[in-house]
């Protein structure tokens, strides 16, 4: 079943249009990866979906039009975004970061605390540092915190904006393993943008190629890596 669909999605900054009529789909239970080089419009795509920049066209979640909604209401509809880079609250403790992630929930403290413990189990290093200020964590830990924080809102769709940015390859691998596990065990649907094609295509159900704000190719990871020109441009072999 289709979870997210964008049609004719256009967005940009001021007079500059970055995305041109983007057509995307994420089905329930999928990990969809958008590959693109620097400046292809990856972050803009994420922002256009989460509503943090003005957009045209339509964004539908489970068939309902969410184009007109404000960012905080889009979170309430079940779309959580892990922003690019260090999107945590650096002055707040790890625990308060997670609480802030659950701020839209109205199902009571005990359930929120239970979820917090659950993510502490998934990310043991966050549990060790729960009282520390988020700004004092390493890049990889902050990225995990950003993911855990997004999950605290119990989203049906997780948007990940280049989680590998600035991380060592081993840390990135670990991070992607977590995302894959969440997808398999919890049925979490994920839309992830990346430049790191090798690692990301590994776990993708489907892949889109983004070039200067347009989708230029799509298909399964196997299909795309079979295409010679794509393999050379994005996978480097």
């Amino acid at each position: 079943m289709t979870l997210l669909r964008t049609s004719g999605l256009r967005a940009g900054y001021g007079p500059v249009t970055v995305l041109h009529d983007l057509e995307l789909e994420v089905n329930e239970g999928e990990i969809v990866v958008i590959l693109g080089a620097n400046g292809a419009g990856k972050t803009t795509t994420m922002r256009a979906i989460s509503g943090t920049i003005p957009r045209q066209g339509t964004v539908e979640l489970k068939g309902a039009d969410i184009t007109k909604l404000s960012p905080d209401n889009i979170v309430r509809q079940g779309v959580a975004q892990v922003p690019q880079g260090r999107g945590t609250f650096p002055e707040l403790s790890v625990e308060d970061n997670l609480r802030a992630g659950a701020i839209t929930r109205r199902d009571g403290t005990s359930k929120i605390n239970a979820d917090m413990e659950r993510w502490y189990q998934q990310f043991p290093r966050l549990a060790e540092r729960r009282g520390q200020r988020a700004g004092s964590l390493s890049g990889g830990e902050q990225q995990m915190l950003a993911i855990a924080r997004a999950l605290m809102s119990r989203p049906s769709l997780l948007l990940c904006d280049e989680p590998s940015l600035g991380l060592a390859p081993l840390i990135t691998q670990e991070l992607f393993a977590v995302i894959e596990r969440l997808n398999k065990e919890e049925g979490l649907s994920v839309l992830l943008v990346e430049q790191n094609a090798n690692l990301a295509m590994h776990m993708a159900s489907r892949v889109y190629l983004l070039e200067t704000g347009r989708i230029v190719a799509q298909g399964s990871a196997a299909e795309l890596s079979a295409d010679d020109s794509i393999r050379k441009a994005y996978l480097g072999f």
């Binding site: 989460s50 943090t52 404000s70 960012p71 905080d72 209401n73 979170v75 309430r76 959580a80 975004q81 922003p83 260090r86 999107g87 945590t88 609250f89 650096p90 002055e91 707040l92 308060d96 609480r99 802030a100 992630g101 701020i103 839209t104 700004g135 004092s136 964590l137 390493s138 890049g139 924080r149 997004a150 809102s153």
Partner: protein
């Protein structure tokens, strides 16, 4: 010794007023990084409103609640109509707008209540002096080691402590406080976790102005009257207090205010020949300079450190 204690308590009650105005400055600064130049004048407007309520025969408790309510509304409306539209442009634009608001509010007070200390029997005020929140007859004092400490001084000091306690609870144990902290830390991410940042900013400005109103009323009570120049020096001292305590720390603002109040009174009292009553505003300037040179983030402010 008696003189020392007396000056200490006078300083603490004076400093409590600075703390209240500084708290307002800090609450707004944390949310948006803006320094609200009109903080003192917003408080003054509300103080006039409280005077007016007194003229209509309302008891000071009720008048204070009305004054703080007006303050909350004034702050919230200011944020939505004046600050939000220009905040997108630049910090500097906001600075100019708050400066304009400072002028406008003072002019408005003058237009409504005229340039005179109130209450004033000459214009037919029903009240004899600005109502104090605490007993302030000449006989209302307690003896502490031979020093006569005014009940009003003690009351004002306790009031600030209670208010700080309430704010501590707000910031640490409520959803609104968490949202305010999150917006202060990273507004972009705050939106992405579903915080209504506009609402948070509006409430922050309202809260800051309401606390400021309390400060104005307390100060007018100590001063026995309200006049157009009442908040000028208070605002300068409050800025010094916020700088000293750290512009993003409510606890720092309270402590900073108290310290400045005490330093001011001690300097004026003990170094009478070269500080005296006339030059004591200079004390605030010295404090600001020293803090900015030695510890720019203030005593309790968070220095911006980022791991790369």
């Amino acid at each position: 010794m008696e003189l020392f204690l007396q000056r200490l308590f006078d300083g603490l009650s004076q400093g409590s007023v600075y703390s209240l105005i500084a708290l307002g400055l800090v609450i707004i600064y944390r949310g948006t990084g803006h320094l609200n130049f009109a903080q003192g004048e917003m408080a003054l407007f509300c103080t006039y409103v409280v005077y007016q309520c007194g003229e209509w025969g309302l008891p000071i408790g009720i008048s204070l609640i009305i004054g703080m309510g007006v303050g909350f509304a004034l702050g919230a409306v200011t944020e939505v109509t004046l600050i939000r539209p220009v905040a997108k442009k630049s910090q500097f634009a906001v600075f100019i707008v708050t400066l304009g608001l400072f002028q406008f509010l003072n002019w408005l007070d003058g237009a409504i209540w005229k340039d005179q200390p109130l209450p004033n029997s000459g214009v037919g005020s029903n009240q004899t002096s600005f109502p104090s929140l605490f007993p302030n007859k000449p006989t209302d004092f307690v003896n502490v080691f031979g020093a006569a400490i005014k009940l009003q001084s003690i009351g004002v000091f306790l009031l600030v402590l209670v208010l700080f306690g309430l704010l501590y609870l707000l910031f640490n144990y409520t959803k609104l406080g968490l949202a305010m902290n999150a917006v202060a830390s990273n507004a972009e991410s705050a939106k992405l976790v579903g915080i209504r940042t506009n609402m948070v900013l509006m409430v922050s400005w309202g809260l800051a102005a309401a606390i400021g109103a309390l400060g104005g009323v307390v100060f007018a009570g100590i001063n026995s009257n309200v006049n157009l120049g009442l908040m000028f020096t208070v605002f300068i001292y409050a800025s010094a207090a916020a700088t000293l305590g750290g512009f993003d720390s409510p606890g720092g603002a309270v402590l900073g205010g108290l310290i400045i109040g005490v330093i001011e009174n001690m300097a004026a009292g003990y170094a009478d020949e070269w500080v005296g009553q006339e030059l004591k505003v200079g004390v605030a300037l010295v404090v600001i300079l020293v803090v900015l040179l030695v510890k720019p983030s203030g005593l309790f402010g968070t220095a911006k450190v980022e791991r790369v």
